[in-house]
Amino acid sequence: MAATSVASAPSVSATSSIDQALADRLAAIVGARRVLFRPSELLTYTADALPSYFKQPALAVFPGTRDEVVAVVRELAACGVPFVPRGAGTGLSGGALADGVVLVGLNRLTRVISVDPDNMMATVEPGVVNVALSRAVGAYGLHYAPDPSSQAACTIGGNVAENAGGPHCLKYGVTTNHILALEVILPSGEIVTLGGTDGENEGYDLVGAFVGSEGCFGIALAITVRLSRNPEGVRTLLADFMSIDAAAQTVSAIVATGIIPAALEMIDQATIRAVESSIYAAGYPTDAAAALLIELDGAIAGLEHDVETVETLCRANGARTVRIARDEVERTRLWQGRKKAFGAMGRVSSHLVVQDAVVPRTKLPEVLAQIHRVSQQNRVKVCNVFHAGDGNLHPNIAYDASDADETARVHVAMREIMTLCVDAGGTITGEHGVGLDKIAYMELIFSPESLAAMCTLREVFDPERRSNPGKVVPVHSCREWHMSPAARPSASLA
């Protein structure tokens, strides 16, 4: 690779080479219907699920098979064009937006390649929808554990890119704890296998490095996931509280017992009211300051014992009522309010900003009180619906983007909230990813040397930085970023 291509900003050369000729060459691979090149056709792909960023790709291509993906990536490599991999576009960080570069849509690759129920694993293409995978293996009494709220639409490939979480990750772990192996096409067009399934994986944890790389390291062609047994029993409780503090104390009390709930979610009053006035009404008490949605699962023996312990703790910490779902219908209804909460916010205002900070669990009461103060000072309405069990907050503000004054206040409030979460010992994103949305906050938590180390890792996978350019790590903060590979000291290899 020539040093000059590294030194130049990717998009400069890119724009010029994304032309009709490239569109034609890509159409020869995937078919003309699967290449979008007219600006009007590309409108759908200018945003993800976060309605605050709009970036227009120069071209979008939708390969339908593994071989087509390989051919597309190699064509883009041959002409040095940057690209952005995209799954279902349900991301909440602007990570799958392509600004004047090529968007590679992977949602047509929906094949479950193989299922090994005995060893509890499955290999899938990247476009398989999260919930479709669980459905495909349901007959074996298995499921895929990470369950982002967008699971009905989001893809496993996108989950791998973002290291997606979900309510049940409190007990079962996030995406990276469930990926065994990956077949990846690097931006250079080279195909590599990371990890493996037949025996222990040794050497560098390349699966760990790839998961959560937000599309900056290449495209996963095949993903082998670990499956989990469906629990023998599930019990879902809804406890409501007259103060946020009491709800937060309950969270700590439950966790301290050693019981790991399958999920432990908090929903504040503003969110409860938004949900209850929407089609997703779940029967949450609208006068409560906060509600906890608690799920316990596992072997039936001992489960009731844990339910009793949790119920007692809720009441001891001030729960007004504790409702235990009697059947699957009631359980689904209780969950619907939580999973569709962001959808329900759509009723409140046209625009929404969502944050994803994580704070140490013991700091929850203090941080929630500070967020309340920030919302009052800036006259914005913050709703909180989040994974309380692991301290992963989702403060979100619904607003009208056509109101410049309100928009400005929202942005000030968001920055203040992020800063106070970081000051409490937290991090800027727990499961949504950095993407574009949080890139400005990276320097709040990482030193230039730490960011440079991340750039170093990225360059191992993508030396030309053509895959999802401009995301995750702020370019200017990396000292080595501008240094061409030729200028670096060479390795005396071990």
Partner: protein
């Protein structure tokens, strides 16, 4: 060999920079309890992180703990135990080992069946790269996707890309009941398969399940018959049911939880230790292969982790054993082989651990002068 003892991350950085100027490769060590683990390192100087010790931050309510890399597992066990919590890592060896070495080598023991390996418990790291940069990755919270995952990259990299100076780990609250139970089994491949099938079918995951060969059961439990050793935990009702579900395998007998400590420390000094693995469903076949490999080696000890498809082989070292195992290992492997400790000449039977194009590029990027633990993972190109 000269040894420098490190007192801070900045000191570590200075030592690495100094070694870089002098072009002197370094052997990175922790407590030095396992210096013969991994391939031989080509270095003349040693850098010990043992002095870089102590718990930096521990808020029990957060179930996370931050400690310097040289902190021993014993100290962490002691401190967390005061709050009825624990770090669910039980690497082979003892609690004298350091947190840094455990993470750097991704060492895991029987608990990995339920809690995963270090990659599943490490939340954040501070490290110094081969280029002398102090960097942090991850954080002190239990969920974090900010930036590329250098935490997992460094976990299990055997100190070849960077030297760990500090780590934050996830803790667990101690269960109400925690019992150790032995069930005598035949110890043949069929009994291994049955144990694995039972584990696959159960509605719960035992904290641990290891199958011990007769000689190993003798050394750990004082009974000369193969056993399946279970660690069952949870509330009383749950553990009672768990125990009952083991009956189809044989009669459960209570044994002391000390069995786990003895199992971790079962290998004699200078033993040859390696592991075989493939799919868990093939554990019987893997066990048979291990039995054949160690056949005729006096004092050979075997144990299997059925849920993970791994068989660990421990052979007291002697010249005849070395010759015998050397020729046995020369046969093409049917299972994946992972070496732990052995004399240099046996290593050729174990594939290079970081031998991939990307592995080589990583080494070049993070340790371009090849200063850190050169050779411990085999060649990296």
């Amino acid at each position: 060999m000269t040894t420098s003892s490190i007192s801070s991350a900045a000191h570590l950085r200075d030592c690495i920079r100094d070694a870089s100027v002098r072009g002197t490769p370094l052997r990175i060590t922790g407590a030095g309890t396992w210096l013969d683990a991994g391939r031989p390192v080509r270095s003349v100087e040693s850098l010990s992180i043992q002095g870089l010790s102590g718990i930096v931050d521990y808020v029990p309510g957060d179930l996370t703990l931050t400690a310097r890399a040289g902190t021993t597992l014993g100290e962490i066990r002691h401190e967390t135990g005061k709050h009825n919590q624990w770090l669910a890592l039980d690497p082979h060896g003892s609690d004298k080992g350091t947190l840094g070495a455990t993470i750097a080598t991704a060492s895991a023991g029987p608990l990995a069946s339920a809690f995963g390996t270090p990659r599943d418990l490490v939340l954040g790291l501070e490290f110094v790269t081969g280029t002398g940069s102090i960097a942090r990755a991850g954080g002190r919270v239990v969920k974090n996707v900010a930036g590329f995952d250098l935490t997992r990259l460094m976990t299990g990299a055997w100190g070849t890309l960077a030297v760990l100076s500090e780590a934050t780990v996830r803790l667990h609250a101690c269960p109400q009941v925690d019992e150790t139970i032995a069930v005598a089994i035949a110890g043949d491949s069929e009994s291994l398969d049955r144990t694995r099938q039972l584990l696959r079918r159960l509605a719960f995951t035992p904290y641990a399940c290891e199958v011990l060969s007769g000689p190993l059961a003798m050394s750990v439990l004082g009974r000369d018959e193969p056993v399946a050793l279970f660690r069952l935990a949870g509330n009383i009702e749950s553990v009672t049911a768990q125990r009952a579900s083991l009956l189809e395998l044989g009669q459960p007998v209570d044994v002391s939880s000390e069995a786990w400590t003895s199992l971790r420390a079962a290998e004699p000094t200078d033993a040859i230790v390696f592991r075989l693995s493939r799919h868990p469903s093939e554990i019987g076949t893997t066990w048979d292969e291990a039995v054949r490999l160690v056949d005729g080696a006096p004092g050979a000890l075997l144990h299997a982790t059925p849920a993970r498809g791994i068989v660990r082989c421990i052979l007291p070292s002697s010249e005849p054993t070395m010759a015998r195992i050397g020729s046995a290992l020369a046969a093409p492997p049917q299972s994946k082989r992972v070496g732990e400790r052995m004399p240099e000449r046996l290593w050729s039977a174990f594939p290079n651990r970081a031998n991939s194009e990307i592995g080589g590029r990583l080494k070049q990027a993070f340790d371009p002068r090849g200063l850190l633990n050169p050779g411990i993972l085999g060649n990296t190109v």
